[in-house]
Amino acid sequence: MQELFSQIESLLFVSNKPLTLKQLVKFTDSNEADIKQALQQLASDRLERGVVLLDAPDGYQLATNSANSEIVKNFLNADLREGLTEATVEVLAIIGYRQPISKAEIEAIRGVNSQYSLRALLMRGLIEKIPNPNDARGSLYQVTTEFLQHMGITSVEELPDFAELVAKIQLPETPQINSEVAAEGLDTNSEVAVIEISEEDLE
């Protein structure tokens, strides 16, 4: 087990991109269950360390601890990734909590065409498109390790529970519009009087 742990760490270290479970199975010649266990250990071991394990749908990847963001940035003489716009952060939140999710579902939640936000997020590598298993022509969107790097977290599991986060926004019973309200809206002096509605209609 210690050996597998070491092998996985070596592979993650030399890989230029996230590694999937399938790839790890192939190159370590071990079974999925053992690899998952080793990855779990690796992730918890590293939490306070300089190098952490990122765990996103596109795979596993080693990265610097986001607590050291400033120092690493200065060393690399790099800029931090640009901040997100309102529209993209909205789309990202929906994907983060509902992934994998289709464009249609995202648009149903937002009530607005989201093509350009999705494109912007894809271009920045914060999300990726995967085939929809239930629809040969459709796609689903999910977040990437690049997203975790940007947000400075190691997994979406680190995000607060959605239900708790939005606890103050409850879906209440929808009150029916009653006749009182309808009547209130009908002022005989207003133009709408041309619509002849009998008394019964309002009761």
């Binding site: 080693l62 909205e90 607005v112 065409n113 607060p160 519009i177 133009e191 009087a193 002849e196």
Partner: protein
């Protein structure tokens, strides 16, 4: 009147939410009916500056008008023509609000500026050459063709949206012409050939517009009976006093 800045909203639901919250209302059908006019005013402004967005807003505008109309005509059964029951607008709004809340949290994460970096492997051995034997110039030709196709699609997107908005307007005008040619029209006749719910709503909207313009009046004798649309005559229930001028008439 609260002035709304154009284009500060992430879509019609965002606009509706802020209209409701501005007035410190809860998200209910009644609140929606209450802010309908302001919503429509915004859409009118939006249409002038960005027609590509208008289709999304028109869809919600139609829903709002149905809610508002139901307050006046409780017997109105627009939704009965739905193929599938549609999610209630209040519920839709609340769900959107939940995700806005989640987005706020994401924004905070983003604003911390705490990011991770990965490493890039570099090679000590300089340029080695490992081509993929399967990739030929023909492969590249096919691949660039696919890229060009998707570029074309992207290019056509805004135009398609404008077309959609225009078609909604055209339907409204067609209907206007049709109604003007008849003395009396039954509501049921107008909507019986409707292909989808959208068309029914548009029919109803157009009707409201015509009533407003004093071109027609609407009569419903009993609850749940058909609505009859007739050319407007002054002698009906209209009070004789002068009404405030309506300058919106086209």
């Amino acid at each position: 009147m609260t002035q709304i800045k154009i284009q500060q909203f992430e879509g019609p639901l965002d606009l509706l939410l802020s209209l409701i919250e501005q007035q410190q209302l809860d998200i209910t059908q009644i609140s929606l009916a209450h802010v309908t006019e302001q919503f429509l005013g915004y859409v009118k402004e939006l249409e002038k500056i960005d027609a590509t967005q208008i289709a999304d807003y028109l869809g919600i505008a139609a829903k709002l008008l149905v809610i508002k109309s139901k307050a006046i005509l409780p017997s109105l059964e627009v939704e009965s023509l739905d193929e599938e029951p549609e999610e209630d607008l209040t519920e839709k709004l609340l769900r959107y609000k939940q995700f806005k809340e989640a987005a706020k949290y994401f924004k905070q994460l983003d604003a911390r500026g705490l990011q991770s970096f990965t490493r890039t492997r570099v090679f000590s051995e300089r340029i080695n050459f490992w081509p993929d034997p399967a990739v030929t110039s023909g492969t590249l030709r096919t691949s660039i063709g696919a890229v060009l196709d998707s570029l074309k699609e992207l290019d056509n997107l805004p135009k398609a949206k404008i077309k959609e908005a225009i078609s909604i307007q055209e339907k409204i005008q067609t209907l206007q012409t049709k109604l003007s040619g008849q003395i009396e029209t039954k509501m049921s006749d107008l909507i019986k050939n409707a292909k989808n719910k959208e068309e029914v709503i548009i029919t109803f909207l157009a009707l409201l517009e015509l009533i407003k313009q004093r071109m027609f009046s609407v009569n419903q004798n009993e609850l749940f009976t058909d609505i009859t649309i007739t050319q407007y005559t002054v002698s009906e229930t209209e009070p004789q006093e002068a009404e405030p001028e309506n300058n919106d008439i086209i």
